[in-house]
Subunit: 197 residues, 2 copies
């Protein structure tokens, strides 16, 4: 996962995202974030005067940018991109992590949605923005593969929904089964959306 930035501020945002991924927003303390980032506790209120809301918001923003960058990278790695290939790559990122690092972490955006959708309007919006920042490049990639524009958005939403749900099930079961299943079952449907082939 993308190296921690160089400055202490970037490191804290990155650490916040990692801890939220593992324990959720509520169980992630500001002191934990500073410790995980190797940053002084006093820097928290210096860099994030908006408090925890601001820190969580920036962590989600980082997560959205990261997901978008991964999509671009997956596309660059494929010489003959297909919708099913892209989805398989997105899923494989998670199965790889789970098989090598264990099932400790999930998606930070999902965690923030669960913990904060009802308690913090700003965090809820940040989660929605992160989903959008992730969905958009997926939809654009589908268009680039020949999927009609009016179907690219819905299919991108379907891909991300299935992936998010499968991440939840995989973590609960400590088994990548759900992830590999959605990749296999959804592949043909995705490829069938490009009219040419």
């Amino acid at each position: 996962m993308a190296g921690s930035g160089r400055g202490p501020r970037e490191r804290m945002v990155f650490s916040a995202a990692q801890l939220i991924r593992r324990h959720g927003v509520d169980a992630t303390g500001m002191r934990d974030v500073a410790a995980h980032a190797g940053a002084p506790r006093g820097s928290l209120q210096h860099y994030f005067p908006g408090g925890k809301d601001q820190l969580v918001g920036e962590a989600l923003q980082w997560a959205g940018r990261y997901a978008a960058a991964r999509v671009a990278r997956f596309l660059g790695d494929m010489d003959r991109p297909t919708p099913s290939g892209l989805f398989a790559a997105m899923v494989r990122q998670w199965t790889d992590e789970y098989e090598t690092q264990g099932f400790a972490a999930g998606c930070p955006v999902a965690a923030a949605t669960v913990d904060c959708a009802e308690s913090s309007e700003t965090t809820r919006r940040a989660a929605a923005d992160a989903f959008a920042a992730w969905t958009r490049p997926v939809a654009e990639a589908l268009v680039g593969m020949g999927v009609p524009a009016e179907r690219s958005g819905p299919l991108a939403t379907l891909m991300i929904s299935s992936l998010e749900g499968a991440i939840l099930m995989a973590r609960a079961e400590r088994d990548v089964r759900a992830l590999t299943t959605v990749a296999r079952e959804l592949g043909p449907l995705l490829d069938a959306a490009v009219p040419g082939a």
Copy 2:
């Protein structure tokens, strides 16, 4: 949503599930549960000597049973059941709630997975059991509609994954768009799995 049971114990389990649905596990306090259930605080340690873990576990068990019962009910309401019809009914339960009651609540099993998968092994197992209790009747229903046995399990997993992910996105966006999208896009794929029609 299923009426609160008659005894104070059932009411507390039910209330725990409702509060977890809204705020997550960590943000749901034992005192809140008792208050929401109209039950005396002292009853908590009487009925749930295992503490919060036990209460959360029973709430997840309740959620799993509830989801399974809903699947059975959806089947009973359809005179000519189809896979897409079942999935549409499962999705509609959520769109109906969101349109009439607002986007306050999500799935308690998802919330428990996000908050506790890494911190409480017993709760993680309870979440996995709840997913299983939900998936099984869906798969059995698919078999009853003519879906080959070897595909019913994977398709049930796909249905629940997509639904869970769409719930997350809908709650973040405060828009049922993701839910209606997955229902529409997945319908044809599901119906195509029954060989006869």
